[in-house]
């Protein structure tokens, strides 16, 4: 089998369309993973024992089951229960919640690392609990977490081909589409690998930059 540059040029626009969806899903999924992860971490610190238990159970449950199963559940089972999600929405929710269970551990560790004296100073300054989180704890806890969070976002990016299983037309399913209709897999699949690699290669130095930028002081 010979490598056919002409065919590559022909399918490239479609692949790039797919890549756009892949990146969009990663971006939205990352935002959800960060927000929900923070939410899980905060709920797990609640004074209400029932809330911590239920959150702990939900987090363990999501983390303990395969992402693919969760995606199927969101896209094919929820409509039977009356909740119809578009493929991309279901994909973003699945990715975001799944990775939120990991980012919540990052948030938890970062919050626990904030010295007790900071909570006490905030109380001595008479800040409310909300003001303490918003102005004292999170602004110093989050920057050191950014590299670890970004690592999960890169991992999420590499798992986006799973979304093709719920009919999201991302990079992988575009590639499979053109491959199937042309009976040629070499170029589409190679280009998928190359595109993923390109993005990862950009992400790695960006990660290092983040690590250096947010390395904890002292």
């Amino acid at each position: 089998m010979e490598w056919d540059w002409e065919f590559v040029r022909e399918i490239m626009p479609m692949l790039l369309d797919g890549l756009r969806i892949t990146l969009l899903a990663t971006l939205l999924g990352s935002i959800l993973a960060a927000a929900a992860g923070l939410g899980f971490a905060l709920l797990r610190r609640s004074k209400n024992r029932a809330v911590t238990r239920i959150t702990g159970f939900v987090v363990e449950f999501i983390r303990g089951t395969p992402l693919l199963v969760q995606l199927y559940f969101l896209f094919y089972v929820l409509p039977e229960l009356g909740l119809l999600l578009s493929p991309l929405t279901a994909g973003v929710v699945g990715l975001g919640l799944h990775y939120a269970t990991y980012t919540s551990e990052v948030f938890r560790a970062g919050i626990d690392n904030t010295p007790r004296g900071q909570w006490e100073a905030a109380k001595a300054c008479n800040l409310t609990p909300y003001q303490t989180w918003r102005h004292v704890i999170l602004p110093q806890a989050i920057p050191p977490m950014i590299p670890a969070l970004a690592n999960y976002f890169v991992a999420m990016f590499k798992e986006t081909p799973l979304l093709s299983a719920i009919t999201v037309i991302e990079l992988m399913s575009e590639a499979r589409g053109v491959a199937n209709s042309n009976y040629r897999y070499l170029e589409p699949m190679t280009m998928v690998g190359v595109l993923f690699l390109c993005i990862s290669l950009i992400a790695v130095p960006a990660l290092h930059l983040l690590e250096r930028r947010f390395r904890p002081p002292r």
Partner: protein, 261 residues
């Protein structure tokens, strides 16, 4: 009634089975400067932390301005205080910590303006003007834009004092504010304290191992041992003529360690 600002009545505090404060009683007059001294582990920090509501107590009553700190009145009976009550009580009290506890992600000026803006709704410009006055008072006006990590320990502690003053508390608690400092930086903090002591009518409670400073600064000295007050009196009496043998032993040890009293 109005001549006690703090009234501590039979307060007991335990950590597990370890009793740290035992039936502690004392009261403080408005404007009084009080020094709390005593051996390590005698409960001096604990009583300050309790007044700041950083700790709770097992029994007894603490009153600030006649009002219970950890209880509030509801339908004629006392019930445990809720967050709103504690919040209101905390407006009367400020604290300076041994390890400064500045907010490391905020510059000096923002450290001082944060709480007045958030808790009292002071406008930014007003908060900053007031903060600059306070920084000037502690000799750090030129460091307003510095980050805490760029300051020496003595400078950090002076910022922490300015931060506490910014909320204009009537009671200030100082917990060994110089003991984490290099010896050559102690004096710059003590001189700020001295100036506050002589120019304000704030009530000040000071835990310290600096006996000569306690001597000069305080109107009254409380000697703590094992969660109780063993002896109290004006510094001239307590330091030169202690009656209790544990006080004598403690002061003897301090002098043997090379401190002047």
């Amino acid at each position: 009634m109005t001549d006690t600002i703090i009234d501590i009545d039979r307060v007991t505090k335990r950590y597990g089975s370890h009793t740290v404060l035992q039936d502690l009683c004392f009261s403080v007059r408005p404007g009084e400067k009080l020094a709390l001294i005593g051996p390590s582990g005698s409960g001096k920090t604990t009583i300050l932390r309790t007044l700041m509501t950083l700790e709770t107590i097992e029994s007894g009553t603490i009153r600030i301005d006649g009002e219970p700190l950890f209880q509030m009145e509801r339908n004629g009976s006392l019930v445990p205080a809720d967050e709103a009550h504690l919040h209101r009580m905390r407006t009367k009290i400020g604290m300076v910590f041994q390890l400064f506890n500045l907010f490391p992600h905020k510059c000096v000026l923002d450290n001082v303006t944060l709480a007045p803006m958030l808790t009292k709704g002071v406008r930014k410009a007003d908060a900053e003007r007031r903060a600059m006055e306070l920084l000037d008072l502690v000799g750090l006006a030129d460091k307003a834009r510095a980050m805490p990590a760029q300051l020496s320990g003595g400078q950090k502690q002076r910022v922490a004092i300015a931060r506490a003053l910014a909320l204009q508390p009537r009671i200030m608690l100082f917990d060994e504010v110089t003991s984490a400092l290099d010896p050559e930086l102690v004096e710059e903090v003590l001189s700020v304290m001295r100036m506050l002591g002589s120019t304000t009518d704030m009530t000040m409670l000071l835990v310290t191992h600096e006996m000569s400073f306690a001597h000069d600064f305080a109107d009254r000295v409380l000697f703590f041992d094992r969660g109780r007050i063993v002896e109290e009196g004006p510094p001239d009496v307590l330091f030169t003529n202690p009656t209790h043998e544990r006080t004598q032993a403690f002061l003897k040890k301090i002098i043997a360690a090379g401190q002047r009293i």
